[in-house]
Symmetry: C2
């Protein structure tokens, strides 16, 4: 089987949410496994010296409007989140710890996290909220607590962030396949074209 | 007739070049005049406090690769320019001064400038190069000199930059239509969808 598509993203990234359905469709269509890899975008930005776009007033105004419009464009439900940016470290740790136990539960959790933050306006930096969402994905209260606060989840997330920085990820979502990087939900058509052999 | 599409761009922006053919097709298709408005991206960035992406090594590496690939994706000829970024103030002044005399010559000049910079690797910040390109577009040597160095071209460009800043342009290309802004060649499908009434 051909190599995987690594889907680097931050759980608090609207453009990652917009890309979720399409990247799984692309993976299925081209026989590529899609590896979901949440990271902390602020840590990646910091390592590369990238100024967070939402810190610049003109960009923030543009992107808040573009996010709402992009959701309509992609045909996805969307409510502006309770805060942007938001620190997604507990959510990402919980994801990696859960993936150790069950890939299916981790996948269900990721979908649940995106819906909670971008549709239901829940605060996914809140431990109690995260515990409820974990339960929705079939993860026990004890496992959720251990995932958020234990050493395993923390170590797995740290390693993911280091790898993302080493792979020169510049934002969220950023897709890596066959050594080629595609940054942004707006590069999904380029990724599809690349996999179809569009590039010589 | 419905309102125009203002096409804000920098003559040294690869993504503006990639958008040129498609934006004119969209304008024709939806009966919207496309107003080409070159600006100095560095001045817009400075006014908004935006860090130029090509100043960040990880972004520069990503975008240089993405530019080459995007050209293939859009089916356009492309050679990496002699330098990026490049100050396009003489080119933009020449464009505005020429547009005062003849819209057709200015349109021919714009196409010629993009081809020279992105296909032929010419330095479009050089006065002698610009004079030759102006001649190709049917602009006399005297008019070209006056356009680059006279007060009219300078004043028109300054006004364009001020208007771009007031319209909260955040990069190049940035399209404005019916009060709605679309930033990036990758937003052309969104613009098309918007004009087709896709958004409620």
């Amino acid at each position: 089987m051909a190599g995987p598509i690594r889907f680097w993203f931050d759980f608090a990234s609207p453009y990652a949410y917009f890309a979720t359905a399409e990247i799984d469709r692309i993976g299925a269509e081209f026989g590529r496994k899609v590896e979901w890899r949440p990271v902390l975008l602020w840590a990646v930005f910091k390592a590369h010296g990238i100024a967070p776009p939402m810190d610049v007033p003109a960009k923030r105004a543009y992107f808040l409007r573009d996010m709402r419009r992009s959701a309509d464009f992609f045909g996805l439900p969307y409510q502006e989140p309770v805060k942007l940016p938001l620190s997604s470290h507990l959510a990402a740790r919980l994801y990696y710890a859960s993936a150790q136990e069950s890939a299916d539960k981790a996948a269900a959790l990721a979908q649940r996290l995106f819906r909670a933050f971008f549709v239901e306006r829940k605060d996914i930096s809140d431990e109690a909220v995260l515990a409820d969402l974990a339960a929705d994905a079939g993860i026990s209260a004890r496992a959720a607590q251990e995932g958020m606060k234990g050493t395993a989840g923390r170590a797995l997330l740290e390693r993911a962030v280091e790898q993302a920085i080493a792979e020169k990820i510049v934002g969220s979502p950023h897709f890596m396949v066959d050594g080629e990087g595609f940054f942004g939900a707006d590069r999904l058509p380029h990724l599809r074209w690349f996999l179809a052999g569009g590039r010589k």
